[in-house]
């Protein structure tokens, strides 16, 4: 199975996303922002960072990149796409997911180990979790406050399109504690926290049993592998 990892100028977590995909057993293909060719990948990860410096608005310029033209088309055709942090912002700016992301309520960048509740497991990226499972993965952002109109929120709640919710502490003022979303088809998932930073023992968040041993993020990538095998 081939997972494409997109690099925009200013992308930071592409090597981390590639490592995570490899640990889940995927073959990784680097996708370049200026290239419309998706090289026949079976799934795509839009990693975190500050694409194009996040000038104008986070993810807004990236949403117009040549590679996104192909990804939007493929996503609408069912290609699994995961957007992490800046990738989530790109998905929102691309209208693959609704709403918007604004400056954190407290105005500061924040990096912390964040507890989440898995709200939906019927997606290509969450099927290995149990419904309601509590997981901890790193969060690091300056503009992670999720907003949407009341109408959109109602629809997201009603249609079960919320994939993850912040637990214990809402780190950025997101409405309804929303940490991540899915699309109706379940192939597109976006979230602010970083599953790719919790895939390898020794380098993830602390857990009750040992320092930096948290690997809850790996299931995002094993989920998509399973979805692809079963597809």
């Amino acid at each position: 199975m081939k997972i494409g990892v997109v690099t925009f100028p200013g992308t930071l977590d592409d090597r981390d996303a590639a490592r995570a995909a490899r640990l889940a057993g995927a073959e990784v293909v680097s996708l370049w922002h200026a290239d419309t060719n998706l090289h026949k990948v079976d799934a795509v990860v839009l990693p975190g960072g500050f694409s194009y410096g996040d000038y104008l608005r986070c993810g807004a310029i990236a949403a117009q990149a040549p590679v996104m033209e192909s990804i939007i088309k493929a996503a609408n055709g069912g290609l699994p796409v995961l957007g992490i942090c800046n990738g989530f912002q790109v998905l929102v700016e691309s209208h693959l997911l609704p709403g918007g992301l604004i400056r954190n309520e407290h105005q500061n960048f924040i990096c912390r180990d964040q507890k989440l509740r898995v709200e939906n497991v019927d997606t290509a990226w969450t099927n290995e979790f149990e419904l309601g499972q509590e997981i901890t993965i790193p969060l690091k952002n300056g503009e992670g406050g999720y907003i949407a109109t009341q109408e959109t929120l109602k629809q997201l709640e009603g249609d079960g399109l919320i994939a993850f919710r912040y637990l214990e502490l809402n780190p950025n003022g997101s409405m309804n504690d929303i940490a991540g979303l899915r699309n109706a088809r379940g192939n597109v998932v976006g979230l602010m926290p970083h599953p790719e930073h919790a895939v390898e023992p020794g380098f993830g968040p602390d857990t009750a049993t040992a320092m930096r041993s948290g690997v809850d993020g790996l299931k995002f990538f094993t989920s998509v592998m399973k979805a692809l095998v079963n597809a």
Binding site: P9, G10, L12, D13, R15, D16, R19, G49, F50, Y52, G53, D54, Y55, N108, F109, I110, C111, R112, P138, K140, G142, H194, E196, H197, V199, E200, G202, F203, D206, A210, M211, R212
Partner: protein
Amino acid sequence: MTYEVDSTAVAASTPEKKQPWKELGLKKDEYERIVEILGRRPTSAELAMYSVMWSEHCSYKSSKIYLRQFGEKVTDEMKKHLMVGMGENAGVVDIGEGWAVTFKVESHNHPSYIEPFQGAATGVGGIVRDILTMGARPIAVMDQLRFGAVEHPDTARVVHGVVNGIGFYGNCLGLPNIGGETVFDKVYQGNPLVNALSVGAMKHADIKLAKASNPGDLVILFGARTGADGIGGVSVLASETFDADGPSRRPAVQVGDPFAEKVLIECCLELYAADVVAGIQDLGGAGLSCATSELASNGNAGMRVQLKDVLLRDESLTPEEILMSESQERMMAIVPPKKLKAFMAIVDKWEVETSVLGEVIDEPRLYIMWGEDEIVNVPPRTVAHDGPVYERPVKYPKWIDELNANGVIAAGLRRAEVASDLAAELVQVISSPNQASKSWITDQYDHYVGGNTALAMPDDSGMVRVSETSGLGVALATDANGRYGQLDPYAGAQLALAEAYRNVAASGAAPLAVTNCLNFGSPENPEVMWQFKQATAGLADGCLALGIPVTGGNVSFYNQTGDVAIHPTPVVGVLGVIDDVARRVPSGWQDEGNNIYLLGVTRDELDGSVWSEVIHDHLGGKPPVVDLAEEKKLADLLHGATLQGLLASAHDLSEGGLAQTMVESCLRFNVGARIWLGELQERDNLDTTAALFSESTARVLVSVGREDDVKFVGLCEARGVSVLRIGVTDGRGDDALLQVKDLADFSLQDLREPWAATIPDLFG
């Protein structure tokens, strides 16, 4: 508006022209020396170039004679791992398996007071480019901060600006911030210290040097366009030639664009991988003046450059300003002509603007043209390396005798005797601004990016994996204690070295090399020069005793508020290597039921301590005794114990003494403990205040699983390191207790709350 070119021809024919050498910071004899070197008066461009390259900041003219000892007080054994020593952009050490690392710390103090956000941001940007220039991929950053008193109304401005600036720049670069220090003291009120460290890794074969040695190679400037950043003083030249209503004043502080730097990093790494650059230099202080003269001088060659080919942000810049501009995110590459096409393909891919400025020539001469006019014609070595060297007057400060005589005993500082008073002092110490949790600051930095962070704050050192196949990694710790520096600069520098060394060892790594950033007052003050002389001697002697070389560093003078110098603050960074980061040792207790051992001997050493500052607002006496042989023995023991996997945790004792260390050990993973001090007090002849708060060196607090007890104690005894069991870990969670026998039972919650609240309450 017209610009009259002061060409070399004009200079030769107008020897009588008055030049603003004084306004540019040159001394009369320095100006005369330039005239002598050139055989005529310098052009205004040459004058600008010499003035900035011969400044204290670029030439190290006051410090050079002392810095030499870092290269002299070394043994062959110390040089064994050193691949590139001092003088290059950063030193390089061999860490094995074909890997090399480069690391350095640099100051950005003065800009950070004027404009804290951009000052701190561009400090990070500058040090990262130094690392990149060596051919390495930057893999982490750290920062060493000193601010004024917390209650001063201006401190919050500086704190917010600096912390946001570091986060803004570092977070956007994708480099994990793995540690640092934050200290508040009124001596830094009008002169905060913002030091930034970066570390990078590369394979041995990939080391790059800043030199232009092959005639015919092209001189290429790439990255951001050149603007009017950081021109500052050079504007006196402009104001002479511009009309009165022209843009006479230029900004003194640079403005950073981390996105441009991130793109530049990836672009350079691709250029290195394609083997298309023969030499490379970043543009930082003194901009093009520095890059052209250093590249040519290092390569024993010359260069011919057309300044009109520099891509500008502002077309009104004069050639002098272009030469001086400190616009960020720029690099200069030396490229063989046959590799130009491949070079251009890579910079085009990254959409990095690039301009070929000229070529390397056989003759050791730097020619800079402005259109048809030759505006610079100098031997590059005289600009870059043969600047003035001063042996400044040195004077022993008499006040230090009085200060040293006024120790905590002489001053009659009261020691609490009642348990409840001692317990209150403990809480007061751990929640004082310098001892309290810094997570309000460090939580604003990304420490995950890269996926290789094995340790970060609040552990004793930052640790990153270098090889994903073997787990080979490096650990870094930096330390400095200005109060000790004030009491005794020789000992102060060694105490900083010893603490950083101990922190690296406590995390499980073997210390390997040293960098430093020496922050001092004005070198024109003979007493400051004495402090500097003592500190450099202390550091060089200390490195020799520990057997680890200084690989590079930075000097920052003129750190003072009005006429009052800061405390001597030599920031020392130690780099260690660990064969597999999986062996790393955290600073906190992880499991219940482990034995807690104090390694090393405690003396009644409270002069200059946190206790004396927080409880009595006192500074006097003599700093703790430095025993580097003992430090080495302790580090070797910790390394041996790490290799055998005996340590569940290790945390060094320094500021705040045993009290601080045991509290932090509890709070790291929320594991409680029962501690008894009786045997320690009896063995080392201490009262409770000294047992809790003494800052004696060469001490570490470790926890060891019961199954490893016999082995561990045996190891300590075999190696002659004092070991004393002083407690056992017990309980987990906020309800767990730190029970100190005959003193108090603290719930972890009651310790955490004040410890965690101090900084957010002040600045949040």
